[in-house]
């Protein structure tokens, strides 16, 4: 059985790090920024532009759906839609190569037929803020970071809601929800490796 693990996450919860570390421990690839870069290359666009289309901008381009309503929205260009279609294709192509971890981008829904194991990584606001403060340029203050955290999560939620039938961050959407408030990501990896092994055992 193929082992595809998808990771959805709250901003600042350490979901990206968890994906990378879990993939390393399982000795399989982790796809995250690689997806954006693949799409950017296909369309001759800057990765930042693709990232913007695939999360923040998605609310305005949703005639292309994975399983929900079909509705034309007149304001956006064919380009944005093509980027989203490409992103799905890139994700399917990467997954077809074999076992992997995929971070974000509704990969759990796109790859539903491959029976992925779907994780959600979350944490208390304080712990996420702390993680961000350690990572982000010093000049940004707490209030700005909190504002950014909320905006990014709002965009992710809107993206999922428009492209799929499931709700972002609602535990029913995932197989396992992991609270990272009280532990480092590194501490959780051995347990998660066992969980993944167990999950894919028949």
């Amino acid at each position: 059985m193929m082992r595809i693990i998808t990771i959805d996450r709250e901003f600042g919860s350490g979901g990206r790090e968890l994906g990378k570390r879990l993939a390393d421990a399982l000795q399989i690839p982790c796809y995250d920024q690689e997806i954006i870069e693949g799409v950017a290359k296909l369309h001759g666009l800057e990765p930042e532009h693709v990232e913007h289309i695939s999360e923040a901008d998605v609310r305005t381009v949703y005639p292309m759906t994975i399983g929900k309503r079909f509705m034309m929205y007149p304001t956006k260009t064919k380009d944005s839609i093509q980027v989203l279609v490409s992103q799905q294709n890139v994700i399917r192509t990467l997954a077809a190569d074999g076992d992997c971890v995929i971070v974000g981008r509704c990969a759990d829904v796109i790859l539903r037929d491959l029976n992925p194991m779907n994780l959600f990584v979350y944490g208390s606001q304080e712990s996420r803020l702390l993680r961000c403060m350690q990572r982000i340029k010093e000049k940004e203050n707490e209030r700005d970071i909190l504002h950014m955290m909320r905006k990014i999560d709002r965009d992710r939620a809107a993206c999922r809601e428009l492209l799929t039938d499931s709700k972002w961050g609602q535990k029913e959407t995932y197989h396992l929800c992991i609270n990272t408030s009280d532990k480092t990501i590194k501490q959780l990896i051995p347990a998660l490796v066992s969980y993944v092994d167990c999950w894919f055992e028949e």
Copy 2:
């Protein structure tokens, strides 16, 4: 470090079975019905009556709180309040004996000072219904079971909301949320044992 694991759960998700199996695998006791029986014995009451007070009936007796509002509610007797106080004491006494798994009864909040690991067990409505159908008397039909599932979970949510500051079933309340829809409880135990080992490691 003491290993106290608390389990909160949706009705029919297999939370009770998960608690028992996890405790067996860890070779520590699991307290569930034992709490009710302990309280019943203390007060010379039937266990069913104690169970009713501690979940369904709690909405009417909440002057005694664990950490939220304090408000007199005139309709209920001193007996009910004493039962709830006893339940807290029984839980604290059991936990003081050493490592254990405790199912339900807001044990995560009552034992907060002991830094328990708090799990929530949930599943799709279909999977929970199926589990109930396998367990419950044949004469009950699907509609009745669904009605009962909803009522019990509503009571549990109300109980937690009145006695604590946290929300029942909301992932932020717990360290790990486990979806049991696609696996048997037995299949998940080795992974959970690893998770617990990892969690309590310093």
